[in-house]
């Protein structure tokens, strides 16, 4: 009896331990451990102003200096001047060394600093011969001392002539000088070593593009290029006239600059982090992530290690054209104000996510978002590429486990997750956003109806993109009918009865046609509610037989699509509309004689158009302890204002008032005025509009843009209101199973009946299992 009681008591103790397996996320379990030190960014200006009639190119950090070239055109002298910019990262002093040349055709295309502070620059002269209508490039290297005085030069005519024979596009990308004054010139896949007297010493070639060059601590030269397993560094051995020691960086998307510190560490960066490679052991490790210093790694040109506590980086935000320098100082984390951490989960890091996270962290003094990713494209190995599907599947599984586990993130990026919103919502993993929208003063009616309807699941809204585009199909209304939206059956009838010499679409191949019918006519074959399908139907077999009439490969060698459409050779055209201007272009494809209609994709409900999102789409995880803050971040993205000058503003705003602002801006015609504010008139006495202008065309077809009109806007709004689906919502498992079997039919190995029966068998099983 005692033993039985003891056994029972032990069982209870074990079961009691399961009380920890619940959704009781406490503050203690959610707090992220703070590192001992952090890098604190200090932005600074190197004191160079962007010239009004010129530009500045930065050439990275070499031997403790940030280098650049400032080019400026003078309206008075009608000459281009170039200054070499040499900014010392040690003492913060800037030198502008003018390069003065009598030859106005010359410009500096590569520059480096030697260890004693002198400059070596590669100068290019390009001469255009009007008679022969050909151009010719001439190169030379000039040496300058630390004061900017030219101390020598090397004529590269013979060397360049030899390289030009190997390639029509020979171009010197970079220059380095070793401790023996041997000059190394970087071409695309070859480095040529040149003696001080201008004679060629030797050359080394790589199999892939060379990304950069630099100096080792002993003065020898290294090159960074793409190797077998990602980027690698090869140190050039002058004696062997080949690459000597090589180091694998294990990285594929490196930022521009590299440098080797005194401790024999190579510091380099990619779009997510700064890493160091120990040249003694060949092992690399992460130093810090760009997001931890509130920087978008995608905008970073490169990083320079100054000492054990200091890094410098140069960045260029290509969306806002902002650029600058930042000093990153290693600081005890106890000296930095602590913020509450929210975790954002995404499969991988991308530019949009980084930009959103950086913007939030910089603006928020109390909270901070940390990004948790599950795969890094920067460090993918060759084996990962070979088994990409498994690589992606493993990362997705880890992400799913986290979302449903104890340490669930606060938010998830749905657009970068490889996980369907419907799957997460059905597990109760997502929080409805509508109550938070109401708290923030918005209602669903404030958003474009098509966007809301497309993103709702069982009447619940979890998120929406801040910007969207439309995908649809256009066709001649005389053949398909003057309507929007059609069934698969109607489309097949049209295909069967096409006029002689007309094909359904221009680039559709056998496989692509079937894929489109499946994507867009998904609900024609699959009834998820009743867990049934009808792939053994005559309709599906008709699609298979119809697909065989299409070519196996696309032919891109023909005339421009608009010409084919207007000649009656092609019926439909896929239209991706992300701006109001594109509405007029789509209509222009059909010319004046054909009346087009936005017929949509066959089988898609509503008007047959589908929605695609721009930027990142985020959702709140239901296990988050900071739902209000997460909602604040997400709603800010959902309600992005229309900003004409922001290059990241692709697509249409989802918020109705912003969409109206966008349309108003696009259809309001501004006319060109002179310096006195008077309208400038054309030859016919009409004012010249600022909007419109420009043209688009290829292969014999051209269209000149006109200012957008209210008519264009009405067409757009009608399209948008009729959307009922999102572009990529079909089940990829079903899709890949079907295409796997369809390949046997298309190759002639099996009949349509056999393939249809097998697909019906497998998909039925799949639907039954998941019902």
């Amino acid at each position: 009896m005692k033993k039985k009681l003891l056994a029972f008591a032990l069982s209870l103790i074990m079961v009691a331990g399961l009380a920890a397996c619940g959704n009781g996320n406490t503050e203690e379990t959610k707090n992220v451990e703070r590192p001992a030190y952090v890098y604190v960014p200090e932005y600074f200006d190197w004191g160079v102003e962007e010239p009004e009639n010129g530009y500045i190119n930065t050439y990275g950090v070499v031997n403790g200096y940030m280098l650049g070239i400032k080019s400026e055109w003078s309206n008075e002298t009608h000459q281009q001047s170039e200054n070499i910019l040499k900014y010392s990262l040690v003492d913060g002093t800037l030198e502008e060394i003018p390069y003065i040349s009598d030859n106005s055709n010359e410009y500096i295309n590569a520059v480096t600093v030697q260890q004693e502070g002198g400059i070596a620059a590669c100068v290019q002269e390009y001469i255009w011969d009007e008679k022969t209508r050909e151009g010719q490039a001439f190169y030379r290297v000039i040496f300058m001392d630390a004061a900017g005085q030219v101390t020598g030069e090397i004529d590269l005519a013979d060397i360049y002539a030899e390289m030009a024979q190997k390639s029509d596009y020979a171009y010197i990308n970079n220059i380095a000088v070793d401790s023996d004054q041997v000059v190394y010139l970087q071409f695309e896949q070859e480095i040529v070593a040149v003696n001080p007297d201008g004679s060629k010493l030797f050359s080394v070639e790589t199999d892939n593009w060379i990304q950069n060059m630099g100096n080792m601590n002993d003065g020898s030269v290294y090159a960074v290029y793409y190797g077998q397993n990602g980027s690698e560094i090869g140190v050039i051995d002058k004696n062997a006239k080949a690459f000597g020691t090589k180091y694998e960086l294990g990285n594929n998307n490196l930022n521009g600059f590299f440098n080797i510190a005194e401790d024999n560490m190579l510091y380099f960066s990619d779009s997510t982090s700064v890493r160091k490679l120990d040249l003694t052991t060949g092992k690399s490790e992460e130093v810090f992530q760009w997001l931890s210093v509130d920087m978008n790694g995608q905008y970073v040109d490169g990083v320079n290690y100054l000492d054990e506590k200091t890094f410098f980086a140069h960045y260029r935000d290509w969306s806002s054209d902002e650029e600058g320098f930042v000093k990153l100082v290693k600081t005890d984390s106890s000296l930095v104000p602590e913020k509450t951490i929210l975790t954002l989960a995404a499969l991988s890091s991308d530019s949009n996510i980084q930009a959103d996270v950086v913007a939030f962290n910089k603006a928020n003094t109390e909270y901070r978002i940390e990004l948790k990713t599950y795969l890094d494209y920067n460090t993918m190995t060759e084996a990962d590429y070979q088994n990409y599907e498994q690589f992606l599947s493993d990362a997705t599984t880890r992400m799913l486990n986290d979302i449903t586990g104890k340490d669930a993130p606060d938010m998830i990026s749905l657009s970068n997750s490889n996980i369907s919103m419907a799957t997460l919502a059905s597990k109760g993993a997502l929080e409805e956003i509508t109550p938070y929208l109401e708290k923030a003063g918005y209602s669903e009616e404030d958003f474009v109806a098509g966007v809301v309807n497309s993103y709702k699941l069982d009447g619940k809204l979890y998120t929406m993109p801040g910007r969207f585009a439309i995908q649809t199909t256009m066709a001649d209304s005389a053949i398909v009918g003057d309507k929007e939206g059609w069934t698969l059956q109607e489309a097949l009838e049209v295909i069967k009865n096409l006029p002689e010499g007309m094909s359904f679409s221009e680039y559709d191949t056998q496989e692509y046609f079937i894929q489109k019918c499946l994507i867009y006519g998904y609900t024609n074959f699959i009834d998820e509610q009743n867990a049934s399908c009808n792939f053994d139907s005559e309709e599906f077999k008709a699609i298979l037989e119809m697909a065989k009439t299409f070519p196996t490969e696309s032919d891109y060698s023909g005339e421009a699509t608009p010409i084919l459409i207007q000649n009656g050779e092609v019926l439909t055209m896929d239209a991706g509309i992300s701006s109001l201007e594109e509405v007029q272009v789509c209509l222009a494809y059909f010319g004046d004689k054909i009346t087009p209609t936005f017929i949509g994709y066959p089988g898609v409900s509503g008007n047959g158009a589908l929605l695609s999102s721009y930027g990142s789409t985020y959702a709140i995880c239901s296990k988050s302890d900071y739902k209000d803050i997460a909602a604040e971040f997400i709603i800010e993205k959902m309600t992005q204002p229309y900003e004409p000058e922001d290059y990241r503003n692709w697509g249409f705003p989802s918020l109705k008032k912003e969409l109206d602002a966008y349309i108003t801006d696009q259809i309001t015609v501004e006319y060109i005025k002179d310096e006195n504010g008077e309208l400038i008139l054309d030859e016919e006495g009409n004012p010249i509009p600022e909007n419109g202008g420009g043209s688009i065309g290829w292969e014999g077809w051209m269209y000149e843009y006109r200012p957008c009109t209210q008519e264009d806007a009405d067409i757009l709004l009608e399209l948008v209101d009729g959307i009922e689906g999102v572009y990529t919502n079909s089940d990829s498992t079903i899709f890949s199973m079907i295409m796997e079997e369809v390949s046997y039919f298309l190759s002639g190995a099996k009949t349509a009946d056999e393939v249809a029966a097998l697909i019906q068998n497998r998909i039925s099983l799949y639907l039954m299992q998941n019902s």
Partner: protein, 296 residues
């Protein structure tokens, strides 16, 4: 007789404590990696989802039992076990008996049957794909005789391929176990039987089989367990969703895991465990009956 602690004595107590101490690491390991996770599985099978963790009673079990795919998986798995396991046991026993005879090239035959055990599963699957793919070697060979191609892996014939694969992989291991059991049968018993004019069949049935009953039970249980593991080969050959004739119970569970449906997965696992307990319990009873003379 009622045993009391007083009669056990200090020595016995000490012995028990010492043995408990030595057993503790294994016990804790089994607890941590088998028992506790299984208890978690039972808990998951009784809740609505891993986020809310609200008690759902037998709802998950009812849903799983009513699921058409689960029923199909159960039927296929049972059918496979009923066909493949007896074949694996009988054929390997026959092989063991044949190899017990002093036939030429006996050790080479043994090596031949054991070699599939040494080959990694992925390599085996690769070979099988080359053989039984729609454009594979077997169809090429059939084509030479004017026979139409057979879709070995995506039709009802897939069943045959899987059974053959299972037998090819497992016969060697079972054969070795039987050979060991046969060599452990006391020779003097067989001599006595021969002296008393027992024929070979009588010797085999009344003496050898009886002595091998525990080995037969063990081999049957191992074959039954391996019959469930054949999912691995089927999965590598045909993926997550094969043709319905070879859709096994572990396909169902594997797919549930991939879809985060831990409730269905756990319910299916618990049901499978209960079935296994019943089946193995019956086997033990049968062995007890037939082997009782041997064990005395």
């Amino acid at each position: 007789m009622k045993k009391t602690w007083a009669k056990s004595g200090k020595h016995e107590k000490h012995a028990k404590r010492t043995s408990a101490l030595f057993l503790a690491p294994s016990f804790l390991g089994v607890m941590a990696f088998f028992i506790l996770p299984f208890i978690v599985v039972i808990v998951y099978s009784l809740v609505d989802n891993p986020i809310n963790m609200e008690f759902n009673g037998l709802g998950n079990f009812i849903r799983v039992i009513n699921n058409g795919a689960f029923k199909k998986a159960i039927a296929n798995t049972l059918k496979f076990s009923v066909i493949a396991v007896p074949l694996a046991v009988v054929l390997s026993l026959m092989l063991a008996i044949v190899l017990e005879w002093k036939i030429p090239f006996r050790s080479q035959f043994r090596t031949f049957f054991l070699s599939p055990m040494m080959v990694p599963v992925a390599s085996i699957v690769l070979i099988w794909q080359v053989l039984f793919h729609y454009n594979g070697a077997v169809n090429e060979w059939l084509g030479a005789f004017g026979i139409d191609k057979i879709d070995w892996l995506k039709s009802s014939k897939a069943y045959i391929v899987v059974v053959v694969l299972f037998l090819w992989k497992n016969l060697g291991y079972n054969m070795i176990l039987f050979m060991a059991a046969l060599s452990n049968i006391p020779e003097d018993l067989i001599e006595v039987a021969r002296l008393e004019n027992a024929n070979k069949w009588q010797i085999f049935y009344h003496i050898k089989l009886r002595y091998m009953s525990s080995t037969i039970l063990f081999v049957t249980i191992m074959s039954l367990i391996n019959s469930f593991k054949v999912f691995r080969e089927i999965y590598l050959l045909t993926g997550d969703y094969p043709v319905d004739t070879i859709y096994m119970l572990q396909h169902y569970m594997n797919n549930m895991f991939a879809k985060l449906d831990y409730q269905n997965l756990s319910a299916a696992a618990v049901l499978m465990s209960l079935c296994m307990i019943v089946i193995i319990g019956i086997m033990f009873l049968v062995e007890n009956y037939y082997g009782k003379d041997v064990e005395g």
